[in-house]
Every structure is written in structure tokens, then in C-alpha cells.
């Protein structure tokens, strides 16, 4: 990894990580704190943080958050995006959009030289007429059927606008494919099921990326001089059925109409965390072309296909 390079470029300023208490945030902070000061902001408490991490347990929308940015912050990594489908959409939207607006305001006012948003390939949306591998300049059509992704698309666009308005800040947007690992996101949770439901007659190609590869990409994005939007893919794409067989799980194919009705009701009774429109992710393709990240960031996924898929099972060993 590029840690060696980072050390030689010292002194590196502090990096603020929002939403640091998520699984990915904690992993990221454990990597970043070796080379630079890490300041965390999250409403949640940071259990068992590395000693030199300064954690502020507060809402990013509160006044106190401003204080954190006041003194020589060199970079902001914004991971603080809530994706809890059971939360009310008002609270969801407010936390995500107002929270980001505050971050953008502080970055602007205190002249933070680097801003990195971890967006997602989901902003392109799974669609039957998607190109097999989507480039960065494609329209963000993911918002159509999904209210939760609508937030994410809005965040991506807000940061995009900020990129053009504030040339003084190096703004980076990363759009990774399905992140797998100890994280508790929808794709990892889905592949952790003992019996994996699929849609009868559909077997889309999927792209998965190991969480440590995403962290490596974030590190690359934090290097001085890097700016722009980058898709982050993982190892070579594979069919959903192949992923299930590699993991040694059992797949159960359901007709789409049946699956949709079932998931809708299960969701309503809080028996599943998957909202019904997300079924499109196992129906249509939503994969990204990451050649730009490979060329400009010299990003290269370190984890192979099998290691990436198997990473979802590591979750049971994590507190």
C-alpha cells in the first residue's frame, strides 16, 4: 500500500472522518491513524478506538461540530451517510443532506484543501438498459424507484456542484461497487444469508469490492493533487449465481412478483432490512468501469474474487 509514500510526505495535517463509528469508518481510522492525525465525528460512541484518535461524539448538524473544523484540518472524509431503510425518510433526508451541507460549509469557510465523499455505484441504479460497465459521466438514474438512494444521489450531486464552485478544495467522489467485508451494508448482509433468495430467470453480472480495497482507494484519493469522480470496481465481475456457489450457500429462485410481494410484507413487519425496490439489484446490471481510477489513482484491487466474497463471513468474528 501507499503508506510508505504518505510518511515521507509528512507533515500531513489532520483528517476528519465523519461517520467514523461505522464498520468501514473504524477500519479506515485504523489505517489512517498510522500516518496522520485522525479526528472522528459521529453520533455513536467509538468503542475501543486506537489511542491517538480524537473522537467527538456529536451530530454533524450541531453547532459544536464547527469547532472541530476550526483548527488546521487538512482533509475531510465524509462517510456519514445514513442508510437505514426503517428510519423515517424525513429524518433520513435531514441527516444526510443537512449534514453534508454543514460539512461543505465548514470545508468552504475554513479552506480545507481536500474533501472526499464515499458515494456508491448505486447512484447509477440497476436498469435493464444500463451499459454493462458504466463510466463516471453517466447520468445518475438510481433515484427512480428508490427513496433511499435518492438521498445518496442528492449528496453526490451536491458534492459535484461543490467541486466546480470551489476550485480551492480538491474534491474527490468515489463510487465503489458493492462493498463486501465486515461492513453491514445491504450486499454483505444479503450474501451472509444462509439461503440466498434470487429472482427466477434472472442472473445479473455483479461487481464486488473488498472493504480494504475501498480503504486503499480512499487513501489514494487523499493524496495531494487528486481530484474528480472515480468509479471503484473490484476483481472481475461475476454472475450472481456464481457468487452464491463460491460461498457455498443455497440459492432459492422466486418469481419476481412473488418475491416483491413477500419482501414488501417482510419489510413492513421488520423481518428484513431489504426494501422491495432493492430487488432490482439482483435483477439488472449496475456495474462500473473503473479504468479512470486505475489510470489516474493507480488503484488496483488487492483482493481476488474469492477472498472478496469470503470476506462477508469474517463478520461473525468481529465484535
Amino acid at each position: 500500500m501507499s503508506e510508505g509514500a504518505l510518511v515521507t510526505q509528512s507533515p500531513l495535517g489532520a483528517v476528519v472522518v465523519t461517520g467514523i463509528c461505522g464498520r468501514l469508518g473504524r477500519e479506515l481510522s485504523r489505517v489512517l491513524h498510522r500516518t496522520r492525525k485522525v479526528i472522528g465525528i459521529d453520533r455513536r460512541a467509538f468503542v475501543d478506538p486506537p489511542g491517538d484518535i480524537e473522537h467527538h461524539q456529536l451530530d454533524i448538524r450541531s453547532h459544536k461540530a464547527r469547532e472541530v473544523f476550526r483548527h488546521g484540518v487538512a482533509a475531510v472524509v465524509h462517510l456519514g451517510v445514513m442508510h437505514d431503510p426503517h428510519e423515517s425518510s424525513v429524518e433520513h433526508h435531514d441527516f444526510n443532506v443537512v449534514g453534508l451541507q454543514k460539512v461543505l460549509e465548514y470545508v468552504d469557510v475554513y479552506k480545507v484543501p481536500k474533501l472526499l465523499l464515499l458515494s456508491s455505484a448505486n447512484v447509477y441504479g440497476p436498469r435493464p438498459d444500463n451499459p454493462q460497465l458504466i463510466r463516471e459521466d453517466a447520468p445518475l438514474l438510481g433515484a427512480g424507484p428508490f427513496s433511499d438512494i435518492r438521498d445518496l444521489v442528492e449528496l453526490d450531486m451536491l458534492v459535484n456542484a461543490f467541486f466546480w464552485r470551489n476550485p480551492g478544495t480538491e474534491t474527490v467522489i468515489l463510487r465503489p461497487a458493492h462493498i463486501l467485508g465486515t461492513v453491514k451494508n445491504a450486499p454483505s448482509n444479503y450474501l451472509r444469508l444462509d439461503v440466498i433468495p434470487t429472482l427466477l430467470g434472472f442472473d445479473p453480472m455483479m461487481q464486488v469490492v473488498h472493504q480494504r480495497d475501498v480503504i486503499a482507494a480512499i487513501e489514494l484519493g487523499l493524496r495531494p493533487g487528486v481530484r474528480g469522480i472515480f468509479n471503484i470496481g473490484g476483481p472481475e465481475p461475476l454472475a450472481l449465481s456464481k457468487a452464491i456457489s463460491v460461498l457455498g450457500r443455497r440459492g432459492v429462485a422466486l418469481p419476481h412478483t412473488l418475491a416483491k410481494a413477500a419482501v414488501k410484507n417482510l419489510f413492513r413487519f421488520r423481518l428484513t432490512t431489504f426494501p422491495a425496490p432493492e430487488l432490482d439489484f439482483i435483477r439488472y446490471v449496475c456495474m462500473v468501469d473503473d479504468s479512470k481510477a486505475k489510470a489516474e489513482l493507480s488503484y488496483a484491487p488487492a483482493y481476488g474474487l474469492e477472498a472478496t466474497l469470503r470476506a462477508v463471513d469474517e463478520e461473525r468474528w468481529v465484535a
Binding site: D129, P131, L200, G201, F202
Partner: protein
């Protein structure tokens, strides 16, 4: 009494078992012969050479699966060799490396694409996978979408075609589009206006175009016309009136004789973003070449089924 019956049974067994074994042998020989006749001597070798290609490419992002393709090829062989008795002319014109096959489209269901794919697998040396550009609508159909991507079909978008050509693949496109496939019988072998997208693609990627004329597909289903309001109401791309469907067994296409004519590769130069009129002139050349191949094929054939 019992011993007697047993003895007789063993007698019968002794005399008939060798006979049965011979029958079984003959049957398996006949099966092998049919297999060789259908699939050719080097079927497995052809499959392996395709597998090797995609292994060296590091997998196919479009989801081509050699095992599914192998089974599909065995089924299509029955149609290719026995049912439609395809004759292939000029397949050696298809250059190695990337190329764009441009063909006339017809026949209510895209059997023509399957037969072209089959010819490129069974009759071309070395075998090639034909990546046909299919209608976006098929991606929403269960089974069809999964099957198409496993046998190498790709949703018809410029980006996808470009990526395939950059991989050095053989891309098949029908620039007449859906209009042509649901043509009524009266308009057989009359080309619909070509779209311009394929020419821009060829110019942009410097890809040779191989014109292909398919003869035989246009007579496989006799359609009296396309009921557009019914198609719209059912959300289908077309709703052809095909009376043969009412006859028992009429769902099968008529066993017309297929002829595929591959023309010499055509190379075009110029600005891919040129005016429609300039691109249209180049497209016209391709269309005329296919038309000529069609006329030649129609002249040479003795009958629809012969």
C-alpha cells in the same frame, strides 16, 4: 417345474443378451455418427478454444459462460444442420480480431442471429463467439435475459459494442432493428432503412464491417402484418399476425433452407461524429452490398425449401 422355467430363462438370456448388446452397440454407433454429423469431429476442441480465449481475457464482463454456450450450441446444431440445412458462403471473409457483422433481420423471432452465431461456431476456423446486439427489452424478461447473457448476447448500446470491439470480439448487429423482424410476408427481402449507429461505431473504433445476407429466415413464419395497437397494449415490441400458429405444431418455424452469404470486409474512414447525411452515404453502401448479396442468394436458390 420351477427349475425348468429357470433353465429356459437362462437359455433365452444366453441367446438374446449378445443380440441386445449388438443392438446397443449399433445404437451407440448411430448416436456417435449423428453426433459427428451434427457437431463435427472437433466439437470439444472448438469449445475448448473458446474457453481458452475467455480465460486469457480474464473472464467476460458481459457474462458469457462457455458451458451454457456449449449446450446451446448442441441444440442449435440440430436447427443449423438438420432443420434449416444451412449453407454458408464466404465465411472466410470474416477477419480475425474485431469485426462488425451487419445483417438483414427477419423472421418474427431472431433465429437468424442464432444461425449466424452457429455458423461462426461450427463453420468458421477458428470458431468465434458472435456477440449479437439485442433489444433492451429482452433484459427485462426472466430466463431470456439470463440465457442471452450466458451465450454472449449483449444489450444493444454503443458503449457495450465499443467495449466488445476493444476486446477484439465479433459483434453482430441488425441495423434495421425491430421494424424488420416483424415484417409481413409481402415485404420479404426488402430492406428497411438502416440505422446509422453501427457506422459511427465502426468509424470510431476502425472496425471492418462484414455484410451478411440471410436467406431463408424471411419465409420461416408467414406474417400477414403487425398489429401495432395490440403490441402496445401488451407491451410487446411487435404483434405479428401469423396464421400458422393456429395449426397444431405451427409454432415451429417452417423448415426453409437457410443460406448465409458473408461479403468481403468493408473499411470506412472519416469522422464518426459527421453529419447524418455523410454517415448515411456510407451506410447506404453497406445496405446496397447486403442487397446485392440477397439478390445473388435469391437467384442461386432453387426453392424456399431446397
Amino acid at each position: 417345474m420351477q427349475r425348468n422355467a429357470l433353465a429356459r430363462l437362462s437359455d433365452v438370456a444366453q441367446s438374446t443378451l449378445p443380440f441386445l448388446a449388438r443392438v446397443a452397440q449399433a445404437a451407440s454407433r448411430a448416436k456417435d455418427e449423428l453426433r459427428v454429423r451434427l457437431l463435427g469431429e472437433d466439437f470439444e476442441e472448438r469449445v475448448r478454444s473458446l474457453q481458452r480465449r475467455y480465460t486469457t481475457l480474464g473472464g467476460d464482463p458481459f457474462g458469457f459462460d462457455p458451458e451454457t454456450a456449449r449446450q446451446a450450441a448442441m441444440v442449435v446444431a440440430v436447427f443449423h444442420r438438420l432443420y434449416f440445412r444451412t449453407e454458408v458462403f464466404g465465411i472466410e471473409h470474416v477477419p480475425p480480431g474485431r469485426a462488425l457483422l451487419i445483417a438483414n433481420h427477419s423472421g418474427q423471432i431472431p433465429i437468424d442471429a442464432a444461425i449466424i452465431g452457429s455458423a461462426m461456431f461450427y463453420d468458421a476456423r477458428p470458431p468465434r463467439v458472435t456477440r449479437a446486439m439485442v433489444e433492451k427489452w429482452t433484459a427485462t424478461l426472466p430466463f431470456v435475459s439470463a440465457f442471452f447473457s450466458r451465450v454472449g448476447q449483449v444489450v444493444g448500446l454503443q458503449e457495450n459494442a465499443m467495449r466488445l470491439l476493444e476486446m477484439g470480439e465479433l459483434v453482430l448487429a441488425f441495423p434495421e432493428g425491430m421494424r424488420a423482424i416483424s415484417k409481413p410476408f409481402a415485404q420479404r427481402y426488402q430492406l428497411e432503412p438502416f440505422g446509422l449507429g453501427f457506422m459511427r461505431l465502426a468509424l470510431r473504433t476502425q472496425t471492418p464491417i462484414v455484410p451478411v445476407a440471410v436467406i431463408g429466415a424471411e419465409e420461416q413464419y408467414l406474417s400477414f402484418g403487425n398489429v401495432e395497437w395490440a403490441a402496445r397494449a401488451l407491451g410487446l415490441p411487435s404483434f405479428p399476425l401469423v396464421p400458422q400458429l393456429l395449426v397444431p405444431g405451427g409454432a415451429m418455424p417452417l423448415p426453409t433452407k437457410y443460406r448465409l452469404y458473408f461479403g468481403e470486409p468493408m473499411r470506412f474512414y472519416g469522422d464518426p461524429d459527421d453529419d447524418d447525411r455523410i454517415i448515411g452515404d456510407k451506410v447506404w453502401l453497406v445496405q446496397q452490398t447486403i442487397n446485392d448479396l440477397l439478390r445473388r442468394g435469391l437467384r442461386e436458390r432453387r426453392g424456399v425449401f431446397l
